[in-house]
Assembly symmetry: C2
Homo-oligomer: 482 residues x 2
């Protein structure tokens, strides 16, 4: 581990991140915010820290990054950005304690969307913009992480995507990451632009349209309104946002292929079919379940059912209905959706459709083996046999995910919150969704979670976002041994 | 599949089962029960059915049983016994509907202990005896199933126990099952005798001591009292029952070894250490959590904490406290215990300690592989490498267990019960525990579960008891193909 090199890269990352704070300052100037001092202070601190970290560790440039160094850069970089992203909230006196500012910032960068803000609409424009913008930045980070970095670090089965990553350079890690990132970010930007346009076409003010696009595309879920998307009472906005949440939950390399002319790419991809199929089935079940029980009209039931299923399954976390008032079955479907999550290679969180698909096939194969113990059967995705080490890695991922969920729920319950809150808050944090059930339900927020619980959930959000392995690996003795 | 042979065996099984109904008749005569007609009718029906099934399929004797036939005998036999065991309850007019009688019977045979009886103490002695006795019979079935049959059917990693099974005959399935069963049943009977003696020594009437032994040893949990063990308000009984619940949760081949003089067998077995260690840690956590919050004295906290942890972890299901009034963390520990369960090869249910241990080691190995992708690492239990196909089988088991838990919870929620009830009732049924949370908490019972829910939970109890594979295999297309 060349720590100097790692800190050098993190320093550069932090510096460039500091530069992005110019944007909220510009927004604040345009909308005439009373004070921009918090941003100036935060920007100075971030730029200064980045420069110093880079300068102290200068002269450690290298063309080759080892797998362990890659993981260290990702984990430390993400934590660092979370810390500095909290500064504007903290200097702006939005919260009494730093942990609240840190929670909000990490919730932003990890595109979770869990909030400790109790009155969103009273916050200044520059801070609201920043809160949304860090989700959009987080989404960019995730795309490059899941499609350009993790496949080469061999994390959680993401090596399956090695072949699909759209880049001409086949071998070296650094150019591949750079080129892949640029291609995918273009796609991300283009789709974002479309959403802004469509929202404005429906009459949403530019500021709202920008902020909501910044939080739809990364499946983030922060809203500039206290009532989230329900604020607008608009079927049009509901539909537009449903469509873009679904798009954000699809593997971005498929978007790239579609934009390049392979129009059937969505349908040809088995994970995408599974993802869209799940949306359909869950929407149907919830609609039938809430019809008559909650909503008198079947149209209304479908509208709110579809929105909530898509919002939770893609791990966005917007709300148009207080689903805690829905029957138990609908709530359970939403809780299951929190674990399932969106597609791998999308900005969504959770376990990811690909892994769950593979899990089903794995279990099916065990039944087959029981009848034919001496046969050789392959688990196939899209007609191709998945290598055994990838299967092992994915089963290990699902195991770690479940195990960490159980342990974290126990720890959160130890802080004194009730049973359902403990389970749902951890599920919603580790899956990067946002709203859960109980104290952290759609009509509440995370402000009431005890101090220690907020640190714990911040850790869960990072854990889920970095696909567990990238963070938990630091606790493996083998990682530190020579 | 030689169906005639399978039905022949099931017929013989049913016939002998019918003979055991003589016992409650004798009990009824001794205690002067008003009517024994229900038992006479049930016994006639059972003996008759068994005889006819055997006679129709006579002449199909064989020395060799295939794996698929073995599974069919286990699954059909258990269901059959569940059906006929319900007859005394049904003819005795204990319930209005057959599903209630069936639920109570299956809950007995699977040693679950979930009850739909609302006033236990008003039931006649013969029926109460029967209700406890079928749990003891179920326990016998499980011992022979998990230590003599499943290892040879290759189910869920139980093949690990092939070497440990105490029998001199090495190859043929039938003599091995017979000899192993006889040895283990002797151990089961000896420990049972000890428990009866110790309970009577403490002043428990013979009838109560017998019935409670019949439901402790199979980790069943039916009591003859409405308040379960709390009825006696006796620290002595609490301690005796805790000790015997723990014994019942230990692999019976270890008991055999201890009785043969290998006194350190418990300690030398890594699963047993894990099981006892878990009891210790969970008891400590619950005690600390309920002390001051629920109980004023630390002694009281330890007494009720230890009893409930042992009762749930061993999947017995006796109660001495209404743990729904405990803090969320304690409830969560009990819910986790429902999944964890006791040792493999014991009469307990749940996922089993061995499998969960292996799961942890599997996840740990994945972390190791991430750092050393080209290394070869073995998952070891007790110093010995576990074959990869056994690991695969165990991971598949855990996957199926979790998957079926999720689907069943969803189905139960669809019948209209609340969120916590749905989750906990399924966890308590599939893990063969008994009491859950919510509507089916320790102070309530399963009477309020809707009609369809009772069928579903009966199925869950069987599924858990037959280690999932043995039942679910019938739904695998490969099973039916030539």
């Amino acid at each position: 581990m060349r720590w100097r090199y790692i800190f050098n890269v993190v320093g550069v990352l932090t510096f460039f991140f500091g530069l992005t704070m110019l944007l909220p300052i510009i927004v604040g100037l345009i909308y005439g915010d009373p004070s921009l001092v918090p941003f100036v202070k935060a920007m100075a601190a971030t730029l200064g820290f980045g420069l110093v970290l880079h300068w102290v560790n200068r002269g450690s440039r290298t063309e080759f990054i080892s797998q362990r160094e890659g993981m260290a850069i990702v984990a430390i970089g993400w934590t660092c950005v979370g810390l500095f992203g909290a500064l504007p909230f903290f200097f702006g006196n939005l919260f009494d304690t730093f942990v609240d500012a840190f929670f909000e910032s990490v919730s932003g960068f990890t595109t979770t969307g869990a909030s400790v803000l109790t009155d969103i609409e009273s916050v200044s424009r520059s801070l609201l913009f920043w809160r949304s913008f860090i989700q959009w930045l987080g989404g960019m980070g995730i795309i490059v992480l899941s499609l350009a970095i993790l496949p080469f670090l061999g994390v959680g089965g993401m090596q399956l995507y090695k072949a699909e990553v759209p880049t001409p350079v086949p071998d070296k890690l650094k150019p591949r990451i750079r080129d892949t990132a640029m291609l995918l970010w273009k796609v991300y930007a283009v789709i974002s632009l479309f959403e802004v346009a469509l929202l404005m076409f429906g009459g949403m003010p530019l500021f709202d349209a920008l902020c909501h696009t910044f939080t739809t595309m990364p499946t983030g879920g922060f809203s500039t309104k206290n009532a989230s998307i329900a604020h607008y009472h608009s079927l049009y906005f509901d539909i537009v946002i449903i469509v873009f949440m679904i798009l954000a939950g699809i593997n971005f390399s498929l978007h790239y292929q579609v934009l390049r002319g392979r129009t059937l790419a969505f349908w040809q991809d088995s994970e995408c079919r599974f993802f869209l199929g799940t949306i359909l089935v869950f929407t149907l079940l919830v609609t039938v379940n809430v019809y008559r029980n909650v909503y008198d009209g079947i149209g209304e039931a479908l509208r709110y059912g579809a929105f909530q299923v898509v919002s939770i399954l893609t791990t966005t976390g917007y709300t148009t209905a207080d689903y805690e008032k829905w029957p138990a079955m609908s709530q359970l479907i939403l809780l299951i959706s929190m674990f399932l999550g969106a597609s791998a290679g999308s900005t969504g969180g959770g376990m990811k459709c690909l892994r769950v698909m593979l899990f089903f096939k794995y279990c099916g194969r065990e039944l087959y083996y029981l009848v034919h113990p001496k046969a050789v059967a392959h688990v196939k995705i899209g007609g191709k046999a998945v290598p055994e080490d990838v299967i092992r890695s994915i089963m290990g991922f699902l195991g770690l995910y479940t195990g960490l969920f159980v342990i974290s729920s126990l720890l959160l319950a130890a802080t004194g919150v009730d049973f359902i809150t403990a389970i749902a808050a951890v599920a919603a944090s580790i899956g990067n969704i946002g709203p859960g059930l109980g104290l952290v339900g759609p009509a509440d927020n995370y402000a009431q979670i005890p101090y220690m619980g907020k640190w714990l959930l911040s850790w869960c959000m990072l854990l889920g976002r970095l696909e567990i392995y990238t963070l938990i690996i630091f606790f493996a003795p083998a990682f530190w041994r020579k």
